[in-house]
């Protein structure tokens, strides 16, 4: 059964007004709220109510003073940084008489919490007009339908949510020479483009697992994993794509597999139908940078006939498309680096829509998802649906 486990800390607002009862002064942090992560430049807005003059409002983050406002509007801006960590934001209002009032908001990093089982469906939506992405849409521009029924959006955001990525790189014999060098350059570009809050794992495979890192923030670890590896052996896309999706399963937020391969699986033990099932039960997107001049050629092996291999290939395409990712076809090896960059840019520019499906029966059935944008001439792409588990 697939469940989205959301941290209580993300949803709960901690309202701790202390001292206000004794004084004729009170405070409330209006922004930020606790239901969204805080990164980068952050503005803290404090609503102050007082029967006497207020001299200043101090804002503390994790106990450290980050700014003081001496007049209304009571606003302090500070740099939160990119770390996905718990933060306590506290505002202290000082009145002329010496009375004070405080109010705190606690945010927390995204984490697993088994106590809360919320089946929030998150949709990562790429909106385009022609070749260009549309970036100025608001929450009200979107309509989400789950099995044909309109859904109420609970969360809305764009782009800057932390990313958890698996870079799944085919280093089989067909990648020898310039190809593997170009793959390394492209992957390096992608990793260097990640922010400090983004996590990634590097997985190199052929017909066997050659190297795999856990999810880490540290780019040095990831870049080191890309180091010299001989391109050798056959290809087992299914097995290691399944592994990657499974690795992403307990993570929350925006999850993505970037697969670099010609897609010609020969040696997997797990059929692609199982990978498709795994993709449908999860919320990870699959982006496939498809090598080999964008052409799928039928082939035979001791494991599968031509027809069976064709079915495997088509099922992989289906898994990618249903996941809301896409296939980036490469006709020349020189395009690889740009392909990685384009995918990262796309991920940064996606809208993130969250809703609680109005009808969940845990019956394993397919829910078709559709996103409409209330603006003419634009196209929205997201996952096709999910299995109700």
């Amino acid at each position: 059964m697939k469940r989205l486990r959301v941290s209580l800390g993300l949803l709960a607002l901690s309202l701790l007004a202390t001292g206000a009862a004794r004084a004729a002064v009170s405070a409330q942090i209006v922004s930020p709220t606790a239901d969204m992560p805080i990164f980068g430049k952050t503005e803290v807005k404090v609503a102050v109510s007082a029967t006497e003059a207020v001299t200043r409002v101090e804002v503390f983050v994790n106990g450290k003073l980050v700014g003081t406002a001496t007049q209304a509007p009571w606003t302090v801006t500070f740099e939160a940084g990119d770390q996905n960590v718990k933060r306590e934001i506290k505002a202290v209002v000082h009145a002329a008489s010496g009375a004070t009032a405080t109010h705190s908001v606690v945010t927390a990093p995204v984490q697993i919490d088994d106590q809360l089982d919320l089946r929030l469906q998150q949709l990562f939506v790429t909106v385009t007009r022609g070749q260009a992405r549309t970036l100025d849409l608001g929450e009200n521009d979107f309509r989400v339908y789950d099995n044909g029924k309109a859904q109420q959006l609970i969360t809305f955001g764009r782009g800057e949510l932390p990313l958890t990525a698996v870079l799944l790189l085919d280093t089989s014999e067909s990648m020898q020479g310039e190809r593997i060098q170009a793959a390394r350059r492209g992957a390096t570009t992608f990793l260097n483009g990640l922010k400090d809050v983004d996590e990634a794992s590097v997985v190199l495979f052929s017909d066997r697992l050659l190297r795999a890192t856990p999810f880490v923030f540290d780019k040095k670890v990831l870049l080191r994993a890309l180091g010299e590896t001989e391109a050798t052996g056959g290809t087992a896309v299914n097995d290691f794509l399944y592994m990657s999706l499974k690795m992403l399963e307990p993570r929350v937020g925006r999850r993505v597999v970037i697969l670099l391969s010609d897609g010609s699986d020969v040696h997997s033990v797990v059929p692609m139908s199982e990978v498709l099932w795994k993709a449908r039960t999860g919320q990870a997107m699959i982006y496939w940078i498809q090598l080999d001049e964008s052409k799928h050629r039928s082939y035979v092996s001791s494991w599968r006939s031509v027809e069976e291999n064709d079915v495997e290939y088509k099922t992989l395409v289906k898994a990618v498309e249903e996941s809301g990712g896409r296939i980036e076809k490469i006709s020349a090896i020189g395009e690889l680096e740009g392909a990685f960059q384009a995918i990262l840019q796309e991920l940064r520019e996606q809208y993130v829509l969250g809703y609680y499906p109005s009808e969940m029966k845990k019956d394993g059935r397919w829910h078709e998802v559709k996103v409409d944008v209330q603006r003419s001439g634009v196209r929205a792409r997201t996952r096709d649906g999910y299995l109700d588990f």
């Binding site: 087992a236 499974k246 035979v300």
Partner: protein, 402 residues
């Protein structure tokens, strides 16, 4: 399935061709216009009765002379020199642009072969191995622009093997010829020439029904061409010849599974997971057995097979992934997740993965056959030297260099 009838008919044609060589004077007038071997050693001019265009006589004589020297070098054990010289000779005579040039080469080589073969039939074995070695080298070098000469080397090896078998008629000759064809089939298979490879394996298996390498090669060709019933047939012959052949049993089980014969496949796979077998065979048997249980809906059975396999192969990431997939289907997602955490701590095994080996033409399959040939060719070098009236100083192995 390639019919046994067709093969037997071809074998009979081969025999007829061989007989032509045995009695050239008597039958040359009746020689068929089309060579039943496809033009290798059966058309005969050893009697000198075949008329040639006047201007080409000298060429053929020169080729014969060079070929004789090459055979002499081969008989002396100068493996590399003889093979390289033969390649130089053949590529200087035969061109892809004019395939008829092959006839000139063929006649010249034929004349010498008939001469030394008439002196002693056993000379055919080392000569076949010289052409076998030449073919191997052509393949290794790519033979770009030399397709005709590549085909010539292959046809010479094949036809000499058949000729030797039919002329000798002995069991020993059948064993030797069968292995020449098996080795040739292995090279063809590695060059991705599946159907010619099947031809060789089939002929080899007919000459020696206990030739397990030929039967295995034949089964793998059928398997790659999705002819699973034919593969099963070949593999049953293989198991009959060697009941302990683990790879044969594995492939038989995999193909029976494809044909829906689940019970027999299950029994074979269970036997392989418990009996001593090569690691790659045992690993694959466990994977396939678990897959079979999974298909039957027996998730618990699949889990048990994979957990046992993980005890034997704790560093094989594939078992972690396969077991995770089974546990996911069983709703044990947390346990499946634990496996994904463990797999990241595994030091991946450096050896080639089992599934890769199954899909690969491995030299090991043909090593025994080639060793056998080396020994047999070696022991006949002195005979060849004698037939060529050349002192025998053989000291190196022939036939399967590299």
């Amino acid at each position: 399935m390639i019919s046994m009838m067709i093969w037997k008919a071809r074998a009979r044609a081969a025999i007829a061709g061989a007989l032509l060589c045995a009695a050239p004077l008597a039958v040359s007038a009746q020689a068929p216009s089309e060579d039943p071997f496809g033009g290798a050693v059966t058309a005969t001019d050893v009697s000198g009765q075949v008329k040639r265009p006047a201007g080409r006589r000298a060429d053929v004589d020169a080729i014969q002379s060079r070929y004789r020297k090459i055979l002499a070098a081969w008989a002396e054990g100068q493996t590399a020199r003889a093979a390289v010289d033969l390649m130089a000779l053949e590529t200087s005579v035969v061109t892809d642009e004019d395939p008829t040039t092959r006839k000139q080469l063929l006649k010249a080589e034929q004349a010498v072969i008939h001469e030394v073969g008439a002196a002693n039939l056993e000379t055919l074995v080392p000569i076949a191995m010289l052409h076998h070695e030449t073919y191997r080298r052509y393949l290794a070098e790519g033979a770009r622009g030399h397709a005709v000469v590549l085909g010539h080397a292959r046809a010479m090896t094949r036809d000499l093997a058949i000729l030797y078998r039919e002329q000798s008629g002995s069991e020993g000759a059948a064993l030797v010829s069968s292995r020449i064809l098996t080795s040739l089939g292995g090279m063809l298979q590695q060059a991705a020439q599946q159907l010619p490879a099947a031809d060789m394996f089939q002929l080899a298996a007919e000459m020696d029904p206990r030739n397990t390498a030929a039967l295995l090669g034949l089964a793998t060709v059928f398997e790659k061409n999705a002819r699973y019933e034919a593969a099963v047939d070949a593999l049953r012959h293989l198991i009959a010849a060697d009941p302990e052949h683990a790879e044969g049993k594995l492939r038989l089980a995999v193909n029976l599974h494809r044909l829906g014969q689940i019970q027999e496949a299950t029994t074979l796979l269970q036997g392989l997971t418990t009996a001593p077998a090569d690691d790659w065979v045992a690993a694959l048997a466990a994977q396939e057995l678990a897959g079979l249980q999974r298909e039957k809906g027996n998730l618990d059975g699949a889990r048990k097979v994979l957990e046992a396999a993980l005890e034997r192969f704790p560093n094989d990431p594939r078992f972690y992934v396969q077991l995770a997939a089974v546990l996911d289907r069983a709703g044990q997602t947390r346990s499946a997740q634990d496996l994904m955490e463990k797999v990241l701590t595994v030091q991946p095994a450096p050896e080639t993965a089992a599934r890769f080996l199954y899909n690969t033409i491995r030299d090991e399959t043909f090593q025994a056959a080639r060793r056998f040939l080396d020994e047999n060719a070696q022991s006949r070098l002195s005979v060849l030297a004698q037939a060529l009236d050349t002192p025998n100083k053989a000291s190196v192995a022939v036939g399967v260099a590299g």
